[in-house]
Symmetry: C2
């Protein structure tokens, strides 16, 4: 109705000072029941929406936690987010998401933008950042938690799994099952450091057993079922004798499985398949595909807990680095 309701308008209408109105609306203590009710009523009736910009500037506190992830399409980050949200719900903090697009410079911009709002915490995927970003994160006056990955040097707090080890472990499983003619298919490979680490751990562990990768494909584009299928077809055409393919993501291994379904190859008899992440799309397939659970939800939860703990403690929290243990499930495809 009216132009803009300000706190002073609410206060005037309620016949109290701005300060009292402010306290009433924030349900701060030291306001009489009667006054509080009256102020709240008036505020509601007039659709007053407090200006948090002013409030935050004055109180020097912002109830937001910045969360920076590479992408929302990949099926993997929504679950991290959901872990974060569920923990933050017990607090006044709210998550705000920024997308870095697997690009360090984009990440720098996004993080600068988020920090410029002085959030109460920052959760960022990955340990790899450009120099400017590292400076910002080090100097940020809020807790910073790097998540997903622990292979590297955390700036301070860190929650994740070792992707190198995940790659090695899957290699061990695959070797244990007797496969020897093995291929690897990955996406976003120059930019997705974690996929890269899995690849490194994987091929290293194979090599340690005297097994060389027969073929590997590093596709620059996004992962999708369609590309998984496409790349699998290509690889199997080049090497019809492959007995196992390890993918950088479940999305891709599902694509590989679709190729097998479409061409009548039987899994794992003709070719074994293994992915990574334990995505929801694996559930419900006719065949259970091998994968590694990346503990995504748990990572989100722990990261949020660290932010909360840091907020509560008076002095700066000592660095925390949590390494979670991903679980491999062999399913029926290995």
């Amino acid at each position: 109705m009216t132009k803009k309701m300000l706190l002073k308008d609410v206060a005037r209408l309620a016949g109290v000072s701005e300060m009292t109105a402010s306290r009433a609306l924030r349900s701060a203590p030291d306001v009489s029941k009667a006054t509080r009710t009256k102020v709240e009523e008036i505020a509601r009736a007039h659709g007053y929406v407090p200006n948090r910009i002013a409030g935050s500037l004055s109180s020097q506190s912002v109830n937001l936690v910045a969360v920076v992830v590479p992408s929302l399409n990949s099926f993997v980050f929504p679950e991290v987010l959901s872990g974060i949200s569920s923990v933050l719900k017990q607090s006044p903090l709210k998550p705000v998401v920024g997308i870095s697009g697997y690009e360090m410079d984009e990440e720098e911009d996004v993080i600068r933008e988020m920090l410029s709002w002085r959030p109460s915490g920052l959760i960022v995927a990955g340990l790899e950042h450009n120099e400017a970003t590292q400076r910002m994160l080090t100097q940020a006056d809020c807790p910073v938690v790097e998540v997903m990955d622990v292979d590297g040097t955390p700036l301070r707090h860190c929650v994740g799994i070792s992707h190198l080890q995940a790659g090695r472990d899957m290699a061990a499983q695959i070797l244990a099952q007797g496969y020897r003619r093995i291929g690897f298919i990955g996406t976003k490979m120059p930019q997705d450091f974690r996929a890269r680490k899995r690849f490194d751990g994987f091929s290293e562990a194979l090599a340690a057993q005297g097994v060389a990768l027969v073929d590997s494909l590093h596709y620059a584009g996004d992962s999708s079922i369609a590309t998984g299928r496409q790349l699998t077809a290509e690889m199997l055409e080049r090497h019809p004798d492959l007995d196992c393919i390890y993918y950088s993501s479940d999305v891709m291994s599902v694509g590989g499985y679709m190729h097998c379904l479409a061409t009548g190859l039987s899994v794992p008899q003709d070719v074994a398949l293994a992915g990574f992440n334990n995505l929801q799309i694996l559930a419900g397939l006719p065949l259970q595909l091998a994968t590694t659970d990346a503990c995504r939800r748990q990572i989100g939860e722990r990261a949020a807990e660290i932010v909360l703990k840091a907020r509560e403690s008076a002095e700066e929290l000592p660095p925390i680095c949590e390494t979670l243990s991903p679980r491999i499930s062999l399913g029926q495809s290995l």
Copy 2:
């Protein structure tokens, strides 16, 4: 290094006034090349991150566009978001996402929170909001665009498709193919108004041709391939003679297809399947499933364009309501 760099610190170090430093960092006009360079250098060297809270309070402008969607898990909203982002990239505006969880009261909270930051625009999925939310949106002093759906009364601007019509159209296609024993499977049905509308349009159009739905399942939980498979199994057990199932989402129809693969039913000979959204997961399957493209990306783009246009125009933009035309693709499953 130092505690907190403020603009005044940068200014002092550069030997200029705060105002000049401010202008230099915002690349405002009226600053000499030399001064600008110097200020920028000092700011960068000391890792100065401007305080946008203060800046926005003073300039009464916030370069953020609030985007409120029900969920990020459903595979459908990331693409809307991506349309929004791509358009906003040509402007200084940045999207900020909020999740309403298919709950009107949660939506109210999220929208209040977002509006309290005084964004330059608000894009919200759906036309259904509780009363308090409607009031807020009406009184908001920024352009508000309701997206995805046009079946209802937009508050002001609106971009979407008619889900009622989408349901009717799919019914027509299914009837045209000669199917008569038809079932429907939907999820989130009390809360997902758009799925509900498709169902209504669908059954209405069938009824108009004298065909009654043989069975329909309204599942409260989230849609997933696994539940799609599960519910399909249940429905086919109850009604082995069904010749076609229409799902509220492609995720579910993929689940149905998985059931058929697993049990040896052939699609569409034994049972025809149709979904909705034209999600990316459909690509790469051995069989192309029938679906309706919901124009998600385009919806995001147009919504963002409306926000930009409203921002540029001096007076308030007249209401815009754009109805996009979803395209059905029959694929090979009908």
